[in-house]
Every structure is written in structure tokens, then in C-alpha cells.
């Protein structure tokens, strides 16, 4: 398997799934070349709707389509999509319309375009709604299976996808399980809970720490809502130290969700890694280094955390 952006895997999965399932349609807001649904539209004319640069209307139309038997994927950059929060809140969530919301270009990893195009608050916003699961796959194989799951899930869903290529963290034969966190690397000293584009970096950090005698357990938290409390608490109980890693604001995302869980159920020392303040233009590598989300940064934070 090779590195691939989860948005690209999404586009491929939709074409495969669309061949078998006539219900699948796509909606875009003039970003179909970026969300990677453009090929779906070419493959299945009449099943792709480009609403122009009007995300609220796109979400509302998706809600109506879902209520009349279609399986609509409403796609845009995560910030523009979830920025229409009030429409998602009422037309999708409260109406209980099974729309598949797809936010791409998440995090500072989009790089040069800068803050206005970065999805950094989307998890925080959508976590506050009671009935929208949040899934952020870590590589191609997980993405494709998560899309297949989303098609069959009877309710609304939010899928959080990256612009950048993702190194594979799963082997052939992997089976995505909604609602389950997955131990990718067992360890005893610290639990590193990572999601999306940072999972590979967390694994690399764990390798470095291993050479220093720190045995880090790395978990891929693809389902951010609902959290797999059982698996996370088991790991936290074993290691006694938890670090969350995500390309999202440190407020309200995976780190916030884990903090809420631990503080109520099993108070455990916690370090939340993510983006503080606004994002900015720059290369992905530089931005990940600046925010401590690359392997070196994660390893440094873990060292400091365990030494205190």
C-alpha cells in the first residue's frame, strides 16, 4: 500500500460504491475537484449536484434528498461545511436526516493556503450535536471502509478527511469498526491517542521513544464521537499517562473529548497536542514542527510529560 490522501481514497471509494448503490449522490459547492468527487460526477452523470459556492443550501438540499431515499454525500472544505453550523444543527441533526457530511482539507496540514481554508474547529462544533458521529480515518484502507460504513449507517455522519497524503498504518485485511479505538502499538508507559493525519507521526514518535526506553502505546482513534470509552480507559489505566494528538484546535476536539472522559471517570494526567491559536500559511512540515505534531514534536512532548 502506498501513501494516499484520505480525500482521494474517498473519491475512489464513492465510485466503487456508487456502481452497486444507485442511492448514492454527491453534492458540492464548487470544490468537487478538491473534495475528489468530480470523477464520481463524470462516472455517474445525473447523480452529482454542484450547487455553486453556497454551502448552506447544499446542506439543506442534502437533507431533503436523504429524507426521500437518497444517500447524499455533502462535501466541502471542513471549515466551509461546518461553518454552516446552524443549517447542520436544524436541517440535518434535529431533523434526523441521514446526510453524509464530508469535510476535507482539515487542519494546518493544508499548508500554504493559510488559516481561512483550514478546518480547525469542526470537531469541536459537531461534537456538541447529540446525533452526528465523527469519523476521521488514518489511511487509505480505513477511509474506504469508513465510507462504505457511512453509506449503510442509518443516520447522519461527519467524515473528516485530509488534503495531504497519509502513510498506511494498517495492513491488508484490516477491518474498520465504527465506534472502536484501535491499539496500533502496545506499550506500558504512556498512551498516545492520535487521529487522522497524526497517527503515522505518533507511531514514528513511539519508535523513537522506544530507543530511549519509553514504551508508548499508540491508539488510532478514528471514531471521535462516540468515543470508545472502554478501550481508552483500559489503556489509560494501564499506562497512567495520556497524550492526545490531532490536527485540530486543542479546544473541543479529540483532546477535549478525552479530557471530559478521564476527568469524570478516571482522572489521569493528560497532555493535549494540537493547534493553539490560528493557523497560518507555510509548508506542512514546518507547520507540524511548529505545532509539535510531527514525530519529533510528539516525542519531545511525551518525554517532557513523563519527566515532570
Amino acid at each position: 500500500m502506498v501513501a494516499k490522501a484520505s480525500r482521494a481514497a474517498f473519491g475512489e471509494a464513492l465510485i466503487d460504491l456508487g456502481a452497486k448503490d444507485e442511492r448514492i449522490v454527491t453534492l458540492d459547492a464548487d470544490l468537487s475537484k478538491s473534495t475528489m468527487t468530480a470523477k464520481f460526477g463524470k462516472t455517474y452523470p445525473g447523480r452529482a449536484f454542484n450547487l455553486g459556492i453556497a454551502e448552506s443550501n447544499m446542506i439543506g438540499i442534502a437533507a431533503g434528498l436523504a429524507l426521500t431515499g437518497r444517500v447524499p454525500f455533502a462535501c466541502s472544505f471542513a471549515c466551509f461545511l461546518v461553518g454552516r453550523f446552524e443549517t447542520i444543527r436544524v436541517s440535518v441533526a434535529y431533523t434526523q436526516s441521514p446526510v453524509k457530511l464530508v469535510g476535507t482539507h482539515v487542519g494546518v496540514a493544508i499548508g500554504e493556503d493559510g488559516y481561512t481554508q483550514m478546518g480547525l474547529e469542526d470537531i469541536a462544533c459537531l461534537r456538541s450535536l447529540p446525533n452526528i458521529p465523527i469519523v476521521q480515518p488514518a489511511d487509505e484502507i480505513e477511509t474506504k471502509q469508513a465510507i462504505a460504513w457511512a453509506v449503510e449507517h442509518p443516520g447522519p455522519v461527519y467524515l473528516r478527511l485530509t488534503r495531504q497524503s497519509l502513510e498506511p498504518v494498517h495492513r491488508e485485511g484490516f477491518r474498520f469498526q465504527f465506534g472502536r479505538a484501535e491499539v496500533l502499538r502496545p506499550g506500558t508507559d504512556v498512551s498516545i491517542l492520535a487521529t487522522g493525519g497524526t497517527v503515522w507521526n505518533a507511531l514514528e514518535a513511539a519508535k523513537r521513544l522506544e530507543t530511549e526506553g519509553i514504551h508508548a502505546e499508540v491508539l488510532n482513534v478514528a471514531t471521535i464521537k462516540p468515543l470508545d470509552e472502554e478501550t481508552l480507559l483500559r489503556s489509560a489505566g494501564k499506562t497512567g499517562h495520556v497524550v492526545t494528538v490531532e490536527d485540530h484546535s486543542v479546544s473541543g476536539g479529540l483532546g477535549g473529548a478525552v479530557a471530559e472522559l478521564l476527568s469524570e471517570v478516571m482522572p489521569t494526567p493528560l497532555r493535549k497536542l494540537g493547534v493553539t491559536g490560528f493557523g497560518e500559511s507555510g509548508d506542512q512540515k514546518g507547520l507540524y514542527a511548529k505545532h509539535g505534531l510531527d514525530a519529533a514534536g510528539i516525542a519531545a512532548s511525551v518525554r517532557k510529560f513523563l519527566a515532570r
Partner: protein, 303 residues
């Protein structure tokens, strides 16, 4: 349509007006002005045009109604009770804890409601999606969306307005969609003209590609005719501008912004209902169905 049928619809609209006043008085809050302006439109839809089965509210071949100006849902509830979706007694649970008759429409709580609305500006987009979905599914069902005049100040309405005449082309035009503007001229804070004038509203919708029909939104015959014209027009959704009077039928509520979102007291309710029924301030003979309602509100008055 015979004159007798129009008389039947007039009777139903009158009864629904009474129920609107009654349920808002019991609830102690709500929106009488816009409920009374839209009730004639809803009466024609529910009792002369829409296909539905009240006992099978999710029947998949039903016509869909999205009341985008969701705060006026008491008017819809009055029609739904009359049509048999739920017993009339449920009207008295409006806005009360545990009631399916939520203060604003709730699709999940009350089957027959097609979408949660009341966060203004969203219903038209949903309606476009419903209309397109029905076309894609090969259904002949129609979609009716009622928007408020203050509501169309919302930007999402114009996103939807821009998209509807074009979406689905060339095979699935949403000509099964009919949008009705309840143009009563008043929004919460004041007259629409004083807050943010919509004019020229007809030209705006025409410019966005919609055929527009203008009617008196309290003339049941005109409403029926406009709905039929809309249905007969192929290839495009239709926009009906229904000129209405806020608070229609109750003199002290008519064209008065004060009655946008305030429930009547029992005393006011009795006065309003007597007017709706064409009775003098005191005395007169109410119809048999209305007598217990008047008695009930009079008893509340004395409490």
C-alpha cells in the same frame, strides 16, 4: 370546484382560526399573527389539494409540506388535527413538556411534519432537496414550501432560490415544487418595510428564474387556482406571492406587530373567537362545535 366546496373550506378555515386562538391561549405563548395570516393557504393545501393519509403519515407517495416559517406551526397543527393526524385534544398540549406539538415543527416528534423548521431560511433548501429526491425516485408527489416575508431576508433563501430553477436539469427539473410567500408585511420587530424592505419582491424572484403568481392569500378560490396553475406549469418550480393580513380575522390583531409573538389572554381569546364566528360581543348563538370551546375559555377567564 363548486361554490359548496368553497363554503366547506371557509368553514374549516374558520374552525382552524378558533383552534389557533384556543391552543395559544392554553399554551400561554406562541405566534398568533402569522398563524392567522397563513391559515387560509394551509386550509386549501390540507383540505383541497395535498395527497396524504393522516393515519399513514409516512406514506411514501404523499405530497410534502414544509412550513419554513416554523413559528406559525399552530396553524398547521390545527389542520392536522382536523385532518385526523392526532386527536383534537392534543392541541391543548402545544408547547407543554412531553408534547409532540413542539413550539416549532419537529419531524421526529410528530410524524407528518417533514422537517424541523423555525430557524428561519432553511426550509426552502430542504424542499428543493425533497422535490429533487422525489423526482429521482420517479414519484409524482408534490412539495409545498411556505416561507415568511421576514424570513426571506435570510441569505440561505436566496441560495436556494438561485438553485431551484436549475437543479436536476435536464431530466429532473423540480417542477414538483411550489413555494408560497405569506406576505403579511410584519416581522417580529416591526413592519417589514421599516426593518428591511423586500420590494420589488416579484421582480427579485422572476430575476432568479421563477414564474411568479400573485394572489390574495385569504381568497380560497384564488389560492386553489394558483396552486393548479403552478402544478400545470412544466419545467420549473413556481413562486406564489400571497398577499395576506397578519392576524387576519381578529380585528385587534390585524396588521399589528404587537401580535407577532404574544398569546391572547382568555378574555382576549373569547373576544377573538366571537369575532371569528361572527357573533356579537355578548349573546348570539355559537355553532355547536364552538360552544364548548367558548365555555372552556370563559372558565379560564374566571380563574
Amino acid at each position: 370546484m363548486t361554490k359548496g366546496d368553497l363554503g366547506r373550506l371557509q368553514d374549516i378555515a374558520r374552525e382552524c382560526r378558533v383552534q389557533i386562538i384556543r391552543m395559544l391561549t392554553h399554551a400561554g405563548s406562541g405566534h398568533p399573527g402569522g398563524s392567522l395570516s397563513v391559515i387560509d393557504i394551509l386550509t386549501v393545501l390540507y383540505f383541497a389539494r395535498m395527497r396524504y393519509e393522516a393515519k399513514r403519515p409516512l406514506w411514501e407517495d404523499r405530497d410534502r409540506l414544509v412550513l419554513s416559517k416554523g413559528h406559525c406551526v399552530p396553524a398547521q397543527y390545527s389542520c392536522m388535527a382536523k385532518a385526523g393526524y392526532f386527536p383534537e385534544s392534543a392541541l391543548l398540549t402545544l408547547r407543554k413538556l412531553g408534547s409532540p406539538l413542539q413550539g416549532h415543527p419537529d419531524r421526529v416528534a410528530l410524524p407528518g411534519i417533514e422537517a424541523a423548521t423555525g430557524s428561519l431560511g432553511q426550509g426552502l433548501s430542504i424542499s428543493v432537496g425533497l422535490a429533487l429526491g422525489l423526482k429521482l425516485a420517479g414519484k409524482s408527489s408534490r412539495v409545498y414550501c411556505i416561507v415568511g416575508d421576514g424570513e426571506i431576508q435570510e441569505g440561505q433563501v436566496w441560495e436556494a432560490a438561485m438553485s431551484a430553477p436549475k437543479i436536476g436539469a435536464p431530466d429532473h427539473h423540480v417542477d414538483n415544487l411550489c413555494v408560497i410567500l405569506d406576505y403579511n408585511g410584519i416581522q417580529l420587530d416591526d413592519h417589514v418595510k421599516k426593518i428591511l424592505d423586500l420590494e420589488p419582491v416579484v421582480d427579485k424572484w422572476k430575476a432568479f428564474g421563477w414564474p411568479v403568481i400573485e394572489i390574495d392569500g385569504h381568497d380560497l378560490g384564488q389560492i386553489e387556482k394558483a396552486l393548479d396553475q403552478a402544478e400545470a406549469l412544466p419545467g420549473k418550480p413556481v413562486f406564489i406571492v400571497a398577499h395576506t393580513v397578519k392576524g387576519k380575522g381578529v380585528s385587534f390583531m390585524e396588521d399589528n406587530p404587537e401580535w407577532h409573538g404574544k398569546a391572547p389572554t382568555p378574555t382576549e381569546a373569547v373576544r377573538a373567537i366571537r369575532e371569528i364566528l361572527g357573533l356579537p360581543a355578548t349573546g348570539g348563538e355559537p355553532p355547536a362545535w364552538a360552544a364548548p370551546i367558548l365555555a372552556e375559555l370563559t372558565a379560564m377567564e374566571k380563574k
